[in-house]
């Protein structure tokens, strides 16, 4: 029997596969396809204090093995999220990770404070890495000092565990990772999208309404693997890995790199059944490769003699 369970702060998961923020709404749409309880956990779209209208369309473009998005954090705001969107997930028995975004530190603190008191959720994911908004977001993700302060301030606001979502668009991601760990983060999510752009040859203008966008999908998986490999050796808090995951093999690769759980984003779009398919494939694939427990995978690409082993290979 393959043991798929993983335990992360605030999230006891039946399996290591969860959804990535922004790629699964608040779960409702995909609940038409399968029982959401199949998932290890669910991460919802970014919530901000005020409603956000997002960027003008077009908001997505396809690239080689990837896609660019410039949604721009469109969301109904925390009040409506609490009243209309999050309650839907109360009917399910799975950890809910709420992605939070803002322009300045107080925004994050406000949203976390409000949601901690008003909503049923398992943990927060601080999106300090959205490439698609002009102020806030990404700047926290590239400056260790503000990332540290933000994390600390949010930790003081809530009892819920805090995951900080890191941007790959930095010179040294381990520096930011260490800063937020020091700030008290319970875990990390990585990676957010890679800044990119596509030009429409007909108009000779940037294709996306917001010009630049965030690159996701299989194209960025090698970048994610490298960063998870480096960061997992630099910190001791768990990592939710993401970036181009579309198969059980990809889940295993990100976990071997150092992730404790793995989120699936872009892959949901081509195949709405991506998550249950991957979860279904995992046990056989792990067995083939000689793994008995999902927890054993974490960091094994660099940590060969981690002990105690929960099982021997």
């Amino acid at each position: 029997m393959t043991d798929l369970t993983v335990n992360l702060p605030g999230m006891a998961m039946d399996n290591p596969v969860m959804t990535a923020s922004g790629c699964f709404g608040f779960g409702k749409e995909y609940s038409q396809f399968y029982d959401l309880n199949t998932l290890g956990a669910i991460t919802v779209k970014a919530v901000t204090a005020e409603p956000r209208s997002g960027n003008p369309p077009p908001r997505t473009a396809e690239t080689n093995s990837g896609m660019l998005n410039a949604i721009g954090l469109q969301n109904p705001g925390m009040n409506k999220a609490v009243a209309a969107d999050l309650p839907f997930l109360e009917d399910y028995d799975l950890p809910v990770l709420v992605n939070v975004a803002g322009n300045q530190q107080d925004d994050y603190v406000n949203v976390v404070d409000h949601l901690s008191r008003q909503a049923k959720l398992s943990a927060f994911e601080l999106n300090i890495s959205c490439p698609n908004v002009s102020c806030g977001g990404l700047q926290f993700g590239s400056d260790p000092e503000s990332a540290y302060k933000l994390t600390k301030a949010v930790k003081n606001t809530t009892e819920h565990p805090i995951y900080v979502k890191l941007s790959p668009n930095v010179t040294d991601i381990t520096e930011i990772a260490r800063a937020v760990e020091e700030g008290g983060a319970d875990g990390l999510s990585m990676i957010n999208t890679v800044l990119g752009m596509k030009i429409d040859l007909q108009s000779s203008r940037p294709l996306l309404g917001n010009e630049r966008g965030g690159l996701s999908g299989p194209a960025i998986k090698p970048i994610a693997v490298r960063m998870i490999y480096d960061v997992s050796q630099a910190v001791s808090i768990p990592i939710i890995g993401m970036g181009g995951v579309a198969s059980a093999d990809d889940v295993i690769e990100l976990m071997l790199a150092g992730a404790s759980a793995v989120a699936v984003g872009t892959a949901n779009f081509a195949d709405p059944y991506a998550c249950p398919r991957i979860i279904g494939d995992l046990p056989a694939r792990m067995h083939e490769l000689g793994w008995k427990s999902a927890q054993d995978l974490t960091g094994r690409s660099w940590n060969h003699c981690k002990s105690p082993l929960s099982t021997l290979r």
Binding site: S53, A61, G217, P272
Partner: protein, 254 residues
């Protein structure tokens, strides 16, 4: 809602770059609403990352068949064009909300299609014709070689074809033709934005517009495919894939 494999019954070119793909599959039984679309996974050894949204051009739910008509333009649709008889195409759908309102009692339905916006109007025209609703059909194309379905539409109602270069039918834009209309017509339009804008302006009475935008999920989860709302204050955008693609003209700013 489901993804389902369909089998290619026939696939042929019907105009310059335009292909008609007839498919059969169980899920066609649910394709009862003209104006809905399917999200097509392009078959091939390595599929493109995203599905491609294509309107349901025709369907025979009882016979479990449906027809897609598309322009092979970019890499995805060009790859789709290589699918042969018996090949399998995976569809997600039917998706979205189609043309759900009939014209008012005794009113006329004016169907206005531009280029690759023409296909969904065919299924609509068939339905209206079957219900005895009078139809005025205006279809615009760039040039003669790109005209398609004109005979099929002509069987269902009064059909006027325009081409931009005058090589077939009336010369000019389809929207030139409708300026004169003022009455109890209800408009049903699908085509390029400028055409839809012209319809929106011209239409004093009701108009239903089918919109397009780049899509990722096709089911309302990713917020890719928005269009500015003419109504809502809090959420200034509607989602074309799940709120539309067909909107009452008064609902959207285009």
């Amino acid at each position: 809602m489901k993804t389902a494999d369909f089998k290619v019954i026939s696939h042929r070119q019907i105009a310059d770059h335009i292909f008609q793909l007839i498919l059969t599959g169980e899920e066609a039984a649910n394709m009862t609403e003209p104006g809905q679309f399917v999200h097509v996974q392009i078959p091939g050894k390595t599929a493109p990352l995203l599905r491609r949204p294509l309107s349901i051009a025709d369907a025979e739910p009882a016979a479990k068949q449906c027809t897609l008509i598309y322009r092979a333009e970019g890499p995805g649709t060009k790859q789709l064009a290589a699918a042969g008889e018996g090949d399998v195409v995976n569809l997600l759908g039917p998706l979205g909300n189609g043309f759900t309102s009939a014209p008012e009692q005794d009113g006329k339905a004016v169907l206005i299609g531009g280029g690759i916006g023409v296909p969904p109007l065919y299924y609509l025209a068939k339905r209206f014709a079957a219900s005895g609703i009078a139809l005025d059909i205006y279809l615009g194309f760039r040039t003669k070689g790109e005209v398609f379905l004109q005979k099929a539409f002509a069987d269902l109602g009064q059909t006027t074809i325009t081409t931009e270069d005058g090589s077939f039918g009336e010369k000019g834009y389809v929207t030139d033709q409708i300026k004169a209309l003022r009455g109890n017509e209800t408009f049903y339009a699908c085509g390029p934005r400028p055409m839809l804008r012209a319809v929106q302006e011209a239409a004093e009475s009701k108009a239903y517009l089918s919109l397009e935008e780049r899509m990722a999920c096709g089911v309302g989860a990713c917020l890719s495919c928005v269009c500015e709302s003419a109504r809502s204050v809090n959420s200034p955008y509607v989602k074309i894939c799940s709120d539309g693609p067909v909107f009452n003209s008064a609902e959207v700013k285009i």
